[in-house]
Amino acid sequence: MTGPLLSVRGLTRTYGARIGCADVSFDLYPGEVLGIVGESGSGKSTLLSCLAGHQRPDAGAVLFRTAAGLTDTVTMAEPDRRRLARTDWAFVHQNPRDGLRMGVSAGGNVGERLMATGARHYGAIRDRATDWMGRVEIAADRIDDRPSAFSGGMQQRLQIARNLVTGPRLVFMDEPTGGLDVSVQARLLDLIRGLVRDLGLSVIIVTHDLAVVRLLAHRLMVMKSGRVVEAGLTDQVLDDPQHAYTQLLVSSILQV
């Protein structure tokens, strides 16, 4: 495929007089992982929720490549946008409780997107759910347990399985490793990296953890006060930061 999968132009979202994010533009190509880093309140999450259609931007365009070519998802009709959100897109929340249905079994959680896209064969749905539980390293015999019986890391992996089961092309991740201890983080990152490579996913990952983007992201955008202050290849930005804020960010990492 030629051309970008997602093309963002002049995206702006304000909260009254305050800026959420301002004038953000970038292209994301198929199979590419884009990291967005910045401190708390820098507009990372606002940007992500505008891209995923959870919030309506005040200005700008979010062009996504559909069968009909690049289509602006901001002006798109809501049914179409919601259809995209449950087929071509996936959204992994920082807190798995936001992305999972805690009262529904793990299998039901994974199967929900299948059923939402028309699957009506219980056996087939269960087989797909079992398969995906295996891919995210959750034992198959936990399929009928509720997510509340899972550990934090398992919940996050379950959320990933639930999102990827319909084979999305674009995955939004909001601090996927937040709140997990480092060894669990490492396994989760390993898993995400494997899935991204195997499935050829395009990913936009928002995090404040530079180690996460170092591992996962091909390209990096650094945000401060709602604006992108620096963008480029991950290694280039992290090893040779140009903007003063990026330099501060990179030098703030604790060395063990």
Binding site: E78, P79, R82, R86, R101, G103, V104, S105, G107, G108, G111, E112, R113, M115, A116, T117, R120, H121, Y122, G123, I125, R126, I143, D144
Partner: protein
Amino acid sequence: MTDQAYNFAYLDEQTKRMIRRAILKAVAVPGYQVPFASREMPMPYGWGTGGVQVTAACLVPEDVLKVIDQGADDTTNAVSIRKFFRRVSGVAVTEATTEATVIQTRHRIPETPLHAGQILVYQVPIPEPLRFLEPRETETRKMHALEEYGLMQVKLYEDIARHGTIATSYAYPVAVEGRYVMDPSPIPKFDNPKLSDSPALQLFGAGRESRIYALPPHTQVVSLDFDDHPFQPTKAAHDCDLCGAATSYLDEVITDDAGGRMFVCSDTDFCGGRRAVGHTGRLGTREAPNPTRGEGASPPPRGEGPGVGGHAGQRAEVVK
């Protein structure tokens, strides 16, 4: 006799007009929940305030009203609502399904097939079928609007995952004319097939939730299921112990503290009617000596039918 202190059928004419407008809209969009300005009624929520308002808006002086509660004409809820309407509207009341023009029901559809011209009014506690999976009203409305019903399937999936079959036995979700998913009120799923293609008009009123929805006559109603777990209406695997009916929905009645029990039609009018023409079940006799030893009961003389209201009386005798 009409109580002159009240307008005909209790509600004032403007309120009835408002409810009728909601009903018309509901009939025009089968399965869609129409909001209406539900009124306080002289009974607690949960006793059928929605159904009572719909009935009040539908009643005309020539109507013959039947009220059933869990299939029975003689239980508290049914008796109270029937008395209420007799007092405030003066319409004729009946227990016979075939004679009634308006039937207000709680949790059952009569066994006797309905005919054209009849109105069946359901009392609905929670009109939103998606409610227990999606608590946000804004979200469920959007899901209805955009026809996103995957979540309803998740509920059935959970049933099969946990119980091996679709264990939902009442308020079983249905799809109306291939469009709206609807909660048929807590009728047993045994009754679901009767919703479809019924010659009668079916109206659903939820008082606390302020919603009215409807199935016009001959509307196609399909119970949701999975390809490999098809919908199956269920009933207790017995015959009625009073009238011997094998195809009616049954109530289980505990008769003593030693494991004695009997199964009787939940539809009292249907059961009474069958017994009036001579059908008899295992315990359906006035002389039943001991219900716990029911097997030994001598069969009653053929053709012996109960008198007026005999069903309840006989049931009481047998249970004693």
